[in-house]
């Protein structure tokens, strides 16, 4: 049954769309070529990272895209695994988005490694079960395979079999997400991470970004193919909008906890890091990105339009995604800026270490983002029928 009312027939893939895709792919290629360059010459001369701050900008898009994929998988599971039919109409596009976001995330972390070519061999021949990084990479790689199977079966209209893969992928990605907590949270060296990587917070944040991406990319997808809204899609998007709002309120609470920690040392175990985030050099990121863009603006937009307008929901989505990206950047970087020997009255030890991303890191991140956008547009061209069925 086709629920799609069309003002006119769906436009076929025109040359302009192909050109648009090619342009995105070219920018992506340009950005990623910086990654190849730094792989050849080493990160010492191309990355802004240092002995003291070993993880740089690229860890943020990795965490961001991996969480986004988790959120997308969770929302698609509402229909596929838990049988909530309202969300059924957006499942194929959501599953595709989940695949390309995870692929983008894994690409980012690959380019963050100094010797990525050793991964395949030694991750298999010398695995380390107590390493969260090992588990996470393995789980996310398997998850990607499950999601591809899920999508292929959906395109073949084999919903029952697709569901099996959806369930496995859902379990895998939830484990991977919780593993991400322990991955950073268990590092006693960086107390800021252990404090801020609470499993519930992380899972809520992931689902929040998933909802935001669904609102944004469904709207773009429809605009791209010149479609007017379909009833079933619309209902799914509005339901996603509601879930989005509830999660925003939840994240608002966690943001409030951060603010308290930033101003009042008694509310935190890491007062130096929290005040750096809330009142120090990272305050613009925090207040504009984490508070304004991630939470307040989306909430305001939804309240004003009562969550009825899909284009405003899309706007709320892009605002939230941008803010959460900043949040992950802050989390990764601020966590590393407290000097190791700060309690030892060391002469000339700065109060905080410093880090700023290099041109290479910025270009690789841009390349990864454009890779994702190009893949999304390709999906819109190739799977239009599946999305609309």
């Amino acid at each position: 049954m086709n629920f799609c009312h069309k003002a006119n027939a769906l436009p076929s893939t025109s040359i302009n769309r192909v050109l648009f895709f090619v342009a995105l792919a070219l920018v992506s290629g340009l950005g990623l070529s910086f990654g190849l360059h730094s792989m050849l010459v080493g990160h010492d001369s191309t990355f802004g990272t240092s002995r003291e701050v070993p993880w740089g900008l690229l860890v943020s898009p990795y965490v961001f895209f991996a969480c986004l994929s988790t959120g997308l998988c969770i929302v698609s599971s509402l229909a596929q695994v838990f049988g909530i039919s309202t969300f059924q109409a957006i499942v194929p596009r959501t599953v595709f988005l989940a695949i390309i976001t995870m692929a983008t995330g894994l690409m980012c972390i690959t380019l963050e490694l100094e010797n990525p070519w050793r991964v395949g061999f030694y991750a298999l021949s010398s695995p380390h079960q107590s390493s969260n990084i090992w588990w996470k990479t393995t789980i996310y790689s398997l998850y990607l395979i499950f999601m591809v199977c899920n999508f292929l079966l959906l395109t073949l209209k084999k919903e029952k079999r697709a569901k099996v893969f959806a369930i496995i992928a859902f379990v895998a990605v939830t484990l991977g997400n919780l593993n991400m907590n322990s991955d950073m949270g268990l590092l006693s060296a960086r107390g800021f991470w252990s404090e801020n990587y609470m499993p519930l917070y992380f899972l809520s944040l992931s689902t929040l970004t998933g909802c935001a991406a669904i609102l944004l990319f469904n709207w773009i997808g429809k605009s791209f193919s010149g479609q007017i809204a379909e009833t079933k899609d619309d209902a799914a998007l509005k339901a996603t909008g509601k879930l989005f709002m509830v999660l925003l309120l939840g994240i608002f609470y966690f943001t409030g906890v951060k603010i308290m920690g930033g101003f009042y040392p008694q509310f935190t175990k890491n007062p130096e890091a929290m005040s750096l985030l809330v009142q120090g050099n990272f305050a613009p990121n925090f207040w504009i990105g984490e508070v304004g863009l991630a939470v307040l603006l989306p909430l305001a937009l939804i309240f004003i339009t009562r969550g009825e307008k899909t284009n405003i929901l899309a706007l709320a989505g892009i605002s939230c995604l941008t803010g959460v990206f900043v949040l992950f950047y802050d989390l990764v970087i601020v966590g590393q800026l407290i000097p190791h020997y700060s309690q030892y009255n060391v002469v000339d030890l700065p109060k905080y270490y410093s880090y700023s991303p290099s041109l290479h890191e910025i270009m690789i991140t841009t390349g990864a983002l454009f890779f994702f956008l190009a893949a999304f547009i390709l999906g819109e061209m190739l799977f239009k029928k599946i999305y609309n069925s």
Partner: protein, 253 residues
């Protein structure tokens, strides 16, 4: 993130302890400490144990897990910052200019109101008994030697994820661009230690002030053993709150 600063605690004197209790503590091996405070004995090996003692909990009995169990005792107040140890380390272990395995931190310690004392604190890998760097490594490129407890690297397996660098609370690791792998102090395992039949490291051999005392915790004849077990001495480890159980001890001797 401030833990117990053992260095700052006032030692009430181990001699005030009952000899039975003292003997018992000596048997604990690594959990021995000279800090005796208000009826509690604070372990130098871990905050967990120190807190256990504070809360009147049982201090776990620890055997030396390795044999030989290599350790280094740093006599902090003897260090004059001549940096010969750093030079020796560089030469012996071919450490490139962009990195270091060991370093010396200059400290300005408040001793009384308006008064500060200058001290030089050599730092290196602590060869922790509970090393977070080893736990996080996805390919076992870094591992703890099962015989002697030295935290070693297998550069071939290093994928350069730098998780170990993020996990080490002591900034003891760097990425060696020439080897394309992490590099760190290994107590000169493949260089000076081998040459000397397990007796000394390059930095300890080069130190004119006898600041770095390398030795074996299981050997009562070893100078390091003697220093650690000398009654009445206050020893401390760095960042005990990280729970890493370091094998490098500090004292003012």
């Amino acid at each position: 993130m401030k833990g117990i600063n053992l260095e700052k605690l006032h030692d009430e004197g181990v001699e005030n302890l009952l000899s039975k209790e003292r003997r018992q503590f000596l048997q604990f091996g690594l959990s021995i400490s000279g800090v005796f405070l208000g009826g509690s004995i604070l372990s130098v090996t871990s905050a967990k144990q120190a807190q256990g003692a504070l809360s009147r909990g049982k201090v776990p009995v620890a055997e030396f897990p390795y044999s030989p169990h290599y350790t280094m005792v740093i006599r902090q107040n003897h260090c004059i910052d001549c940096e010969r140890c750093l030079e020796a380390c560089r030469k012996t272990n071919k450490v490139p200019a962009h990195g270091y395995r060991t370093s010396i931190l200059e400290r300005s310690i408040p001793i009384a109101q308006g008064q500060r004392e200058r001290a030089f604190m050599p730092i290196l890998c602590n060869h922790c008994n509970n090393p977070p760097c080893v736990r996080v490594c996805p390919t076992q490129a870094t591992y703890k030697d099962k015989t002697n407890g030295i935290v070693l690297m297998n550069p071939e397996k290093c994928i350069g994820c730098k998780t170990c660098m993020a996990a080490c609370p002591y900034n003891a690791r760097y990425f060696n661009e020439e080897e394309r792998a992490i590099d760190k102090c290994n107590f000169c395992y493949d260089t000076k230690l081998k040459e000397s039949g397990g007796k000394i490291t390059a930095c300890a051999a080069a130190c004119p002030a006898n600041v770095r005392i390398f030795g074996d915790l299981t050997d009562p004849e070893s100078d390091a053993y003697k220093l650690i077990h000398a009654p009445g001495k206050v020893l401390w480890v760095l960042r005990p709150e990280a729970g890493t159980l370091p094998n490098v001890f500090y004292l003012d001797a």
